[in-house]
Point group: C4
Amino acid sequence: MKIGAKVWAIAEGYIPSYSSGPQPEMLSHETACILNTNEVDAEIDLTLYFKDREPAGPYKIRVGARRTFHLRFNNLTDPEKVPLGTDYSSVFVSNVPVVVQHTRLDSRQSANALLSTIAYSQP
Amino acid sequence: MKIGAKVWAIAEGYIPSYSSGPQPEMLSHETACILNTNEVDAEIDLTLYFKDREPAGPYKIRVGARRTFHLRFNNLTDPEKVPLGTDYSSVFVSNVPVVVQHTRLDSRQSANALLSTIAYSQP
Amino acid sequence: MKIGAKVWAIAEGYIPSYSSGPQPEMLSHETACILNTNEVDAEIDLTLYFKDREPAGPYKIRVGARRTFHLRFNNLTDPEKVPLGTDYSSVFVSNVPVVVQHTRLDSRQSANALLSTIAYSQP
Amino acid sequence: MKIGAKVWAIAEGYIPSYSSGPQPEMLSHETACILNTNEVDAEIDLTLYFKDREPAGPYKIRVGARRTFHLRFNNLTDPEKVPLGTDYSSVFVSNVPVVVQHTRLDSRQSANALLSTIAYSQP
């Protein structure tokens, strides 16, 4: 069964520039959770959009067959790191249908805040 | 009136490995809220996907006719328990249309954090 | 311009049974935000679904033309009040297209938690 | 590649009337994140709906080609400011497809709360 869509967008992106609490668990982070239910690996091109410069990417992401991958934007390095404390958006283009969900842990304060939402899938 | 879809996916799943506060109310938990507005029971197969192993399941879930069921992933035991502190995704396949929403209470800290999002429904 | 859909569902519902902080602003509450962009009033039938009893309702809700209404489930009384500390789901059926979003403020602790998600609209 | 839709609605809107913590970073705010992946600028008309008065707007918003813009409702002034502590909804009509996501930081308390959800896109 093929579940998902090939094109996804997350309009909201922001990695807080500082954290509190034990790390890496309580490190402020921004995550894209990607589910690949297919019998083949998913090859995904990720592009980041910014407020006042040209887009970055594509970042190459592979999610194994019948696997889920919780991508931490903090960990992206190639072709460049994601700047902290900066607004961005992200677009995922996959060769097979996947499902993408967006989550942030904001640990700038001693009391963490969490948000999550399904990403936008192009019909 | 038939409301919902037969196939749903939640890309993000994570049960924190510890909690604070009075239990069971403030126990860290991950919930899938399932609404069945049909005049017949919904029979649902739930499959869990992981980062580095084959999927688990199917877990068999029944939601009564004209009922809602708030499934706590913490309570799943058959065919196996859901590991704590581990990323996973979930896929629901129902014999009748249902509506699925995802919620987490994270009580690792004294101040709880909440998230919720509609799941992805396959068109 | 007609924006929205006539049938909406919120699978997750739960009004915490206690609160902390100044009221009514910081009272624990569950809200359905309803937007009616039409040139006529929206007449909405709301039905609540539970885990172990028959549904309640319909509750009759009117949202004026070109108006928004943030419905607090705490305030529903006719035909019956919504029980606290109990899981429920809700279904909205409107005579004209509307947009529905779900929000909860959980103030059981001194540090509030917030969640929000777009409801499920029947295509 | 054209990603998104031309008409979006956020049913829930509310800018808390006070804040705590360092500003502007921890100022209570309500944001609409708008992604424009097109090769041309997006020209957007934003209209706000209220509980007990006629709508406000249109506010004119421009998002550059291949850019993202995180609109803070707090900063809108023309044709009028957005009142604090008041429920509202928002509708976006764009000349090209965009993606809209809704986020709020509520810093009325020392421990912030965050919410986010994808907006409703008109099919």
